[in-house]
Structures are given as C-alpha cells and as structure tokens.
C-alpha cells in the first residue's frame, strides 16, 4: 500500500457536507482527501444569495463555498477537484477508490457526500431549447423574458417563489403542476395566488417543447383527460425537485427506493467504515444548515471509528 495514495479518510463530494467533514477531520489530524466532480461547493454555487445561514448576513453561495474550501485546506485537507469517483471497493477494512482518470486511492474510512442535482423534465426538446427558452435559474435568466409570457413547471416552494420573482420581468407567468394542490408553504402559495400576473394549470404536465431558434410553444397534457393542448409561450422555467447523485453507489451501500443513502443516527451506512452526509442521505429537510450538521456528525463518527480500530489493533 503506497502511503502517498493512502488516506485515513476519503470524502466523496465537496459540497457543504463534504467540506464540513473535511474541516473537522483535518483539524483532528486525520489524513483526509476530498474528491470532487464539478465545482467545489456543490449546489450552493447555484445560489445567488444565501440569507438563512446563521452568523452570515447575505453571502453568495460561491463566496460561502470558497470560505469553506479555504478552511478545509488550511487545516490540511487535500482536495482533488474535477474528477469523479468511478468505482469503489468497500467490503474490506482498507477500501479502494478509483477515479475517472484511473488513479487509485486507498483508505480506512469513507464519507459519501455526493449531494444531488435539480431534476430535469426529460421530455422532447428540453436539451435543444436549454438556454433558448428553457431555464433552471430565475435570477440568471429572468431578464431575457422582460414583457414576455412564460411557464413555470413545479408545485413546491422553489416553483412558487421563483414564479412570483419572475413577475418582475414577465407580463404573464403560468404555473403548470401535476397535482391538484401545491406541496409548498402556505405563505408561498398565498403570495403566488394573490399575484395578478400568475395563472395556474393544475393536474397537468408538459409533454414537449416546440419552436425554431427559441421556444415558441409547449404541449401540455391534462393528466385527468389525457388531452394535449398546445400552449404559446416564450420560455419555460423548470423547478421540479431533486435527485441524489448516487448512481455510482448502487449495490455498494444500502439505498432507499428514491436512491438516497440509508444512514443511522451516527451517519454510518450498512458497510463498516463507510459513512454518509448531506443531501444524498435519507432525510426530510435539505438545507445548508442540515447538511453541515450531517457533515459534522459523520466526521466525528469517523474519528471515533478510526480511534477504535487503532485501539483494537494494538
């Protein structure tokens, strides 16, 4: 076992969960490596302004992520960025982690924190019209729709809040939702309902995007009657929830039917020495505060596990 490529702990994913775990472990003098695909910070990079992280008044997700990264590195954590974990061997005491570039690392413990991503509709035309009318970010692209008519897909807090925020630009916003009720806070529902620019099409879903250079219309299917109606629109904003990034963990650790990692109170999984934290685990609320808490618990549990393994060996 090469000591260069061996770590006491490897964390997979550098979102707030992984970075927090990295801060705690490196500070406890545990030789720690974080491997991250994409940009360090994970989904918080997608947030223009974070107003609900205690102790910090209005900070961009990017800035918060850079502070967390600096903290982890200053305590001695190594971060490999831009590479994904391709395969894992978790059964033995020493675990193997293979990256997308073929490099192999070994470790005594693992924290899985691959987080999640926004769901896409997966219907015809979505990829073609991404950036040409289809958007997943109201704050980024809202101004392209000034005085235009748009559709917002979804029925949760994000969909309703973003629909209201888009009325700053658009002259008409139509929310299309598959159920007959919203799964959002009463406040978000009332704000949307009292906004005169917001309209609702319930029990319906989008079935395709149509247009030339950019979107011109969408097909909307009534889920009760199966009738499809063509609806003219200049743009579509999609806010339909989230999927965990756990495809690479299938058959490696226990996942629930939604693909979330099943953990115990101490963030341990069904495999010894393997822990998990953040948005990818089974839990009710996915926020930076909850994710940071999971990261802390997983790191403290790993420290404890490593210490116990050391005592047992002596």
């Amino acid at each position: 076992m090469s000591t260069d490529n061996h770590y006491d702990s490897i964390i997979i994913g550098a979102g707030p969960a992984g970075l927090t775990a990295g801060i705690y472990l490196a500070r406890a003098r545990v030789k720690t490596l974080i491997i991250n695909e994409g940009i360090v910070g994970g989904q918080i990079i997608l947030t223009h302004e974070i107003a609900n992280y205690p102790g910090v008044e209005n900070i961009s997700g990017y800035q918060l992520a850079m502070i967390m990264k600096k903290q982890a590195e200053n305590f001695g954590c190594t971060i490999i960025n831009g590479k994904s974990v391709k395969s894992l061997e978790l059964e033995n005491e020493v675990k193997n982690v293979t990256l997308s570039d073929g490099s192999i690392f070994t470790t005594n413990s693992i924290i899985l924190s691959p987080g999640g991503r926004s769901r896409t509709l997966g219907i015809s035309g979505e990829d073609i019209f991404k950036g040409k009318g289809v958007s997943y970010c109201a704050t980024c692209d809202g101004d392209f729709f000034t005085d235009k008519e748009i559709v917002v897909v979804g029925g949760g807090n994000s969909a309703l809040e973003e629909a209201v925020s888009l009325t700053k630009y658009a002259k008409k916003v139509t929310i299309v939702h598959q159920l007959d009720h919203f799964q959002a806070s009463q406040y978000a529902i009332e704000e949307a309902k009292k906004n005169s620019k917001v309209n609702f099409i319930m029990k319906s879903s989008l079935s395709s995007f149509k247009g030339n250079e950019s979107i011109e219309s969408v097909d909307i299917k009534n889920l009760e009657t199966n009738e499809i109606t063509n609806f003219k629109t200049d743009g579509v904003f999609v806010f339909i929830g989230y999927s965990p990034n756990t495809e690479f963990l299938k058959d490696k650790v226990e996942l629930n039917r939604r693909g979330e990692i099943v953990v115990k109170e101490d963030m341990s999984t069904n495999i010894e020495g393997v822990y998990a934290a953040g948005d990818s685990i089974t839990k009710l609320y996915r926020q930076i505060t909850t994710t940071v808490a999971d990261g802390t618990i997983s790191a403290l549990s790993v420290s404890n596990y490593l210490e116990k393994s050391r005592i047992n060996k002596n």
Binding site: G38, I39, T47, G131, C140
Partner: protein, 115 residues
C-alpha cells in the same frame, strides 16, 4: 471584472486582439452567477489540457459586451453564459446556458482537434 482565473476581455479592442493573436479561442460571456460560475470553472480546469486554445471571459452586463450579444450566432439565446468558440477569428460554435465538462470537451475536440 469577473472573479475568475481566466483572461478577462474588457473591451472591443482587446477582444479583436485576442481573436487575431490566437487560432482557437473559447470565450465565456456571463455574470458571477449560478449558471456561469460552473462554466468558468470548467474552462479554468481545461486550460492546462488544451494548450492550443485561449480561454477567456467577458462580463455580460457591460456596454462593450454588445459585441457578443449582437453576434448572429447568439440569436435566440436566452440563458447565460453565452459561450463562443472561434477559429481564426470566426465563430465556429456557440452555446447558451450552463454546460457540462463533457459537453465543453466534445466541442473543443471537434472544433479545435488534437490538444
């Protein structure tokens, strides 16, 4: 100025100079926002691998960026960043909104060939 490690283009004179001096250019025109930051990050990561390509950025909300916003190739674009690929000063490809590293690499390999 955008907070990236890429070469920043701030005016039309510099834009023309970069296009004249470099055979292959990838230019990301955006803001410091959620859809743009990942694309700057990808460009920064690929800078080492694609020595034959000049990677740069341009701030979207400036008067000077009209030179990008008015390109015929971005007609219909309604998502930032606008990412433009140039060969010998001519636009060979343009994309709108966030892209994955794989999508960017596919374009670089197709348009600019071997690294």
């Amino acid at each position: 100025m955008l907070n990236t490690n890429l070469k920043h283009i701030e005016d039309v004179v510099e834009y023309n100079k970069v296009l004249k001096e470099n055979e292959n250019v990838m230019l990301v025109c955006g803001r410091m926002g959620p859809m743009c930051i990942p694309v700057y990050g990808i460009a920064e990561e690929l800078e080492n691998d694609y020595k034959n390509v000049k990677f740069c950025d341009f701030e979207f909300d400036t008067q000077e960026a009209d030179v990008i916003r008015k390109l015929p190739e971005v007609r219909g674009f309604m998502g930032i960043p606008f990412t433009i690929y140039y060969k010998n000063g001519k636009v060979v490809k343009a994309t709108s909104s966030i892209q994955t590293k794989e999508q960017v690499k596919t374009i670089l390999d197709k348009e600019f060939g071997v690294k």
